[in-house]
Amino acid sequence: MTHACGVTRFVILLALCAVLGAPARAELRVDITEGFRAPMPIAVVNLFGDQPQETQVGKDIAQVVSANLERSGLFKPIDQKAFIQSAQTLRVMPNFGEWRTINAAALVTGTIQMRGDGQMRVEFRLWDVFAGQQLVGLAFSTEPQHWRRLAHKISDAIYKRMTGEEGYFDTRIVYISEVGPLTRRVKRLAIMDQDGANHRFLTDGRHLTLTPRFSPTLQEITYFAIVNEKPRVYLLSVDTGKQELLGDFSGMTFAPRFSPDGNKVIMSMALDGNSEIYSMDLRTRKVTRLTNDPGIDTSPSYAPDGSKIVFNSDRGGAQQLYVMETDGANVKRISFGTGRYATPVWSPRGDLIAFTRMHQGQFYIGVMRPDGSDERLLTSGFLVEGPTWAPNGRVLMYYRQTPVDARGRGGVARLYSIDLTGHNEREVVTPLEGSDPAWSPLIQ
């Protein structure tokens, strides 16, 4: 399934009215700022349809929603075998007493209908079981083949209502798929939905590719590749597959990243052993040099409001994080802990910067405020590297590689996600090994 991004294919028909006009009470809510908390028990019922095809899609949607909610670590979907009330009678009204009996705090119900015009109409409702109250009611209309994205949109609506934060399920991941022994690895670009579905390779593996990043529109990916012994930054159109060398630089270009408005790519260029940070205007192709220091300057990342850039430099003797204005002025060091700091990435919310830290043989993924305060390490390992933010700034993805043992086994690279709280660390399953994940914005 190739869904052109940026094209709205989903018509949200209406917000369904609450069936019961129950008065406001203590809200059913998931607090995602706390550390570990018990996940909320939620019952996700298969969407009800009359026809076999509707029944099947209704079941598929419920499974995808259930898996999304479970992976978030905030919800605990209840085994459908425990359900007492049938989907058919649920069309009329939930029997809240029966759902309380199986300890469901929240309930997801819905209907699905294939229509003569080729469109599929889906209604879904989220219920507060204890209050006996509808929390969300939405109706969607789309082509049946987009049922999976619809499931992600339903998941996002549930997440948003229960946490107060935007969801991150209707998103994609671009990453480097790896296969073969470390000394002869084939590394190529691959893309998939946030839950691993719709996986496909974007490059054929003939050239070494690294560090892909999405444009804000998701139409393009910028990445590093070595083609004909020339290490350079490239631009790839996701929909057409067209690849383009970005800029005419005399030295290696690497570490690219889009500006928040998508109009620029910021990157490093190395010439005669010295790396500096440049920005390129994609419309005029004008290149501006931002740093001027004999040290290594790399891994630049814009603040989401486009006002500042955080980057990695060893100008002070070892790798640390620095923040500067977008014209390169007012360079300030922000990392001061022991060890080395690398790969800073500004949160889409603007409040934090994620990074890789290396200290005494261990690697860490951590976050700090843009002024360097309140550093927190979220996870560690022999090698963990390259955090990327979910668009809501609450979840991070990165990759983890195991050491190679004396018999040459190991060196396995896998993608992982973790909550900003440091909880709910999980492998993001990929067909082959994986590294360098980049999380897309929410698909429009």
Binding site: G180, P181, L182, T183, R184, R185, K187, L208, L210, T211, F224, I226, E229, P231, G251, M252, F254, A255, S268, A270, D272, G273, N274, S275, I296, T298, S299, N312, D314, A318, Q319, R340, A342, T343, T356, M358, G361, F382, L383, E385, G386, Q401, P403, V404, D405, A406, R407, G408, R409, G410, G411, D436
Partner: protein, 175 residues
């Protein structure tokens, strides 16, 4: 030359001879199956394949490898040319003088103990340090090309000091 330096040089030559068994790029695939653990060949028995009677073709990669070795090593997070690399690099410079039409690509590599983007920059620094050394020895800069592979192409499989030391390298590839 005092005794200490001679010993140092001898050690360097020995290390280089040991490395010949794992030639970089081209002419690779020594037949060993892929998944097999190409362990970091420890001390015992590394019978350096000495030049056959015929000898390698003048100006070839094989000749450079046989005479001087194709690589030099760097310290962790450093790009300074080490003292034990001087003899090899002087050899490359002499070899380039003798083979006036030969060109070298100098690859800069890193161990796995760093981040990808920083290591691309560090590998570039290492390639550049080797190039600068050769230019200082009279080699025309336009016969040299540098390229960084960062930590992406280790030559020795292993997560230990010995493997890391061998992976932090500058490699000469004859064009």
């Amino acid at each position: 030359m005092n005794l200490k330096m001679i010993v140092g040089a001898a050690v360097a030559v020995f290390m280089l001879a040991a490395c010949e068994s794992t030639p970089e790029t081209k002419a690779t695939s020594t037949g060993s199956g892929s998944g097999q653990a190409a362990a970091p060949a420890p001390a015992p028995a590394a019978p350096a394949p000495m030049a056959k009677p015929a000898g390698p073709r003048p100006g070839s990669q094989e000749e450079l490898n046989a005479q001087y070795g194709d690589r030099v090593f760097f310290d962790y997070d450093k790009s300074d040319v080490r003292a034990d690399a001087a003899k090899t690099l002087d050899g490359w410079a002499a070899w380039l003088q003798k083979n006036g039409s030969a060109r070298l690509t100098v690859e800069g590599h890193c161990d796995e103990r760093g981040t990808k983007e920083y290591n691309l920059a560090l590998g570039d620094r290492r390639a550049n340090a080797v190039k600068n050394y050769l230019v200082a020895r009279g080699v025309n800069a336009n016969r040299l090309t540098g390229i960084s592979y960062g930590k992406e192409k280790p030559t020795v499989l292993g997560s230990n000091e010995d493997a890391w030391a061998k992976n932090r390298r500058g490699v000469a590839v004859v064009n």
